[in-house]
Symmetry: C2
Subunit: 548 residues, 2 copies
């Protein structure tokens, strides 16, 4: 027997409708790519998104078509999101920091037929346009006065393109499982793979993250997503903020600390979200200038682990509550958050930090477990680490076009590729990527934990740890170090520093010094390249294998 | 094109699974119907709900079957909810305060085959058992030691009944639109009609109300639903609290101020929800005893309008934030809440109260509008009142078995039967029930507003206003008054008091004094009975109509 409740589908357009109806005058402030700061509101944004929908339809975009964006966080990008998904097309947010060949690959893989692009990325597209035979048009997200010269074919000016369209365009009635967005994982190995969000997954995820125990957005908040909209939907904030009528501040292209700090203060931002490197630069700026944060109440930090010192500084020096979180493209961003639970014994300041350096406990709509290589559950003792598996309403069930094959196990769990511990309270701590963990005699050694300890050495600028083959232990850790300029480091120095800071059997079997460590476009260490570079490295005490 | 996200249905069992997994030791405290205060936790409650599910299956309960509960807010009632809906059966929460004939009517209408009942309600069932031929069993929600003697046939002892069942019972995979609960509106007119909730509507409603701008439950909260579980799902708290791992306090049968106050203090409750009459008695108790509320942070008040003085007292004298809300059985409880929006000008203390006496703005997943009798939209000016219409994911689309016919208009709006104003910020203020509004010369007069002014007269104990026929104006207001004991009141006294306090054309054409005003089982004035009693009342200055 079915319930007798209304069929009110969970669509992205319902969020914008709601915001326009009840929070129509609430501001959206953008540092435009052209330069000036502009202000609009939800009622206007809703009308312009409808005009864009009309223009897309007129261009021939139909339900299921993929429309790409190469854009910073701006009100026009937001209009693009709601306009594209509102008609049942798929908004493919492309990371403009990827290598041009990768962008060409994913635009072709997605079969994008139209690209909406910020002016600064036109040269990038000009360089690969010849590789994009399916693309029938490029819409430049600006007005006529700011249209740059370009060699691209089929160029349209966004403001002109939408100007004549109907601001009362009626959103079609879509099924809520209709695809709404597409985001490729940059991936340290293999080809990028697309995660295909649905309207339902976006709405449920935003409802869940707006909970008071998660991000807790309220109408009186002023939210500034520093994390880009091409990076897992700006962690959902561009859905969550209109859902409650919060003011939005969109920082555009300027990701430098001075520009971000100015927006935080000028607009009296109360909540923001960013990766740790952004916070590093903001803290450095504030330390240099002796400034404080006058309105910021809380920050979400994710993307990679927030160091303990950063959490401590933000909380104690700047009075900002840190919401350390974990998620990935495949989990629609935030899946766990490090917020204390009721019923825990009172925590000292240090214990509070111990808790906050963990990535936290799952929010409702997410379930987690850790397993060994055979898929058996591992204990939640805070020490044992295993494959982190997740389930939930906003977790991927497959990659776009089935790329990479099935991704769920027989019970429907998604393997995150992360290795983690879980403590008895259910708090997850990510210890490594599964492919980077070093398997030594059947036990696992976390490359990331070794790297984190190694960079504590005052002479070490950067450190990477990989496993190299070992005849007895299968693999043993090799520590690869870049010394700080002007420092002379020896293997013995470094190992002496590690001694006592890591378990005996975790001690790297060798240390090598290099001038550079390769990174991906999103700043992660390319361990695959390092493993290739050191594949013939012979650990001390091991006979060099005979040539095959 | 569909998104590639997991098919993770929004089921009530997923809430309890989550709570058991991540908040397993979080307490549920019950003042049992038997007397003592007992403590359990989410992990235990989850196991016992599964045992109950096994017992229900063994009894022959299948998906879609209706199982009734006649019970107070206790952990066993909560187990019943999750156990019944978990197997796809429908938990029919019966209001034990209804008249026995009404209970028999709805149990038969619902086709209940099994009734779970608290011991105090056994005599009630004994009186109507002969009218319930479909009921095959009565499960008494207690243990063997507390089983009362009863003449009911087919009586089972809850604790014995579930004891041998499998605590690891696997919940079946249900479609999320499966019916989960059934609640009849008591209705001041006509037969009670059933609202049939789905798993999806309950989960989405709980997600929405857990938002930081709504009820905002967190794991560190201790929530005590005073509002009964048979009264629109205890306003969703019994879903919302486990969804975040909040401690729950269930007050059982003792609704007196002393017992409730003791629980609030002893268990350090931070959030609670109740109708205004409960607050009246709690405030009276605290004034009498000179006590305060040491832990309570916020309260949701709904069911009927919270008087301004009550809001002021709770906020200023007791430091408790008042969340004035509106909702109905057909909206799964809370649909609007009186929480200030961002972007509003700063409010003085009086303006803040002005805002809080309104029923508030819709939460996301709800849309509202007001219309005239012809269905045309009316302006949101805070003065014009019209039919309050709602839409949303947790709003009824029909009554059970189609009772009363279609309830949605052509655009899918549900007519709440309430008459309201909406101000430019979208805040709803309920002014009357549509059937009670007095239609005078094409304009509407609010009976409730007149009543509220009239009871301000120091000699008036209670007041009711109904419309009576008028040859020129169609209807004019008649004020019906109970004088306070020992007071001598005249029509002229009362009208003099109203003069200047209500618009001239709202002035009642007549005042009559009575010894009693009839009420429904849920405490509402029975206007239908008053209209019947005064159907031949002749207003002054009107010629008595000739007998037909």
């Amino acid at each position: 027997m079915l319930g007798a409740m209304q069929d009110w589908p969970l669509l992205t357009s319902s969020i914008l409708d709601y915001a326009a109806r009840y929070h129509g005058t609430r501001e959206i402030v953008t540092r435009t790519v052209e330069g000036p700061i502009t202000r609009t509101d939800y009622a206007t944004l809703s009308r312009r998104a409808r005009q864009l929908a009309g223009a897309l339809r007129r261009f021939g975009i139909r339900e299921g078509d993929r429309v790409a964006t190469l854009a910073w966080n701006t009100h026009r990008h937001m209009e693009a999101w709601y306009g594209i998904s509102g008609i049942g097309a798929v908004c493919h947010t492309v990371n403009p920091r990827l290598f041009p060949d990768q962008i060409a690959y994913i635009a072709n893989h997605a079969e994008d037929t139209l690209i909406l692009v910020d002016p600064p990325f036109l040269p990038l597209l000009e360089g690969i346009a010849a590789q994009l035979p399916r693309v029938r048009g490029y819409v430049v997200l600006t007005d006529r006065a700011h249209m740059p010269a370009t060699t691209l074919p089929g160029v349209l000016c966004y403001e002109e393109w939408i100007a004549g369209e109907d601001a009362d365009f009626a959103w079609p009635a879509l099924a809520e499982r209709t695809a709404s967005g597409l985001c490729y994982t940059s991936g340290t190995t293999g080809k990028p793979k697309g995660v295909l969000y649905s309207h339902r997954s976006c709405v449920v995820h935003a409802l869940a993250t707006n909970g008071a125990d998660v991000v807790g957005l309220r109408s009186i908040d002023c939210a500034m997503p520093i994390v880009p909209m091409y990076h897992v939907n700006a962690w959902g904030i561009v859905y969550g903020a209109p859902m409650v009528g919060a003011k939005l501040v969109l920082p555009g292209a300027r990701m430098d600390a001075e520009s971000l700090y100015a927006l935080l203060e000028d607009e009296q931002v109360t909540f923001t979200a960013a990766v740790p490197t952004i916070w590093l630069s903001l803290i450095q700026l504030m330390e240099r200038t002796g400034t404080q944060l006058s309105s910021l109440e809380r920050v979400a930090i994710g993307g990679s682990a927030a160091p303990r010192g950063m959490i401590e500084t933000l909380e104690r020096t700047y009075g900002v509550r840190v919401l350390h979180a974990w998620g990935m493209t495949e989990t629609s961003s935030l899946a766990t958050i490090s917020v204390a639970k009721g019923g825990m014994p009172p925590l000292s300041a240090e214990q509070q930090l111990d808790l906050q350096v963990k990535q936290g406990r799952p929010i409702y709509t997410v379930l987690t477990k850790i397993t060994d290589d055979a898929g058996r559950d591992l204990p939640w003792d805070g020490r044992t680490f295993g494959h982190l598996m997740v389930k939930g309403s906003a977790v991927a069930s497959a990659y776009f076009k089935g790329e990479g094959g099935p991704v769920l196990d027989a019970d429907g769990w998604f393997d995150t590729g992360d290795v983690a511990t879980v403590d008895p309270d259910g708090f997850v701590q990510i210890t490594d990527r599964a492919k980077d963990v070093i398997k030594s005699g059947g036990e696992w050694i976390s490359s990331i934990e070794l790297e984190n300890v190694a960079v504590g050495h005052p002479g070490v600028a950067e450190a990477a740890v990989i496993g190299v083959a070992h005849p007895k232990w299968d693999e043993r850790p090799l520590l690869i170090v870049i010394a700080k300029p002007g420092q002379t480091l020896t293997k013995e120095d470094v190992l002496a520093y590690l001694d006592g800071r890591v378990a005996k059997w975790w001690m790297p079997d060798d240390v090598v010094f290099v001038d550079d460590i390769p990174h991906t476009a999103t700043g992660k260490i390319q361990k695959i390249a390092l493993r290739e570079r050191f594949k013939d490295h012979v650990l001390p005490g091991i006979a060099k294998p005979a040539a095959p």
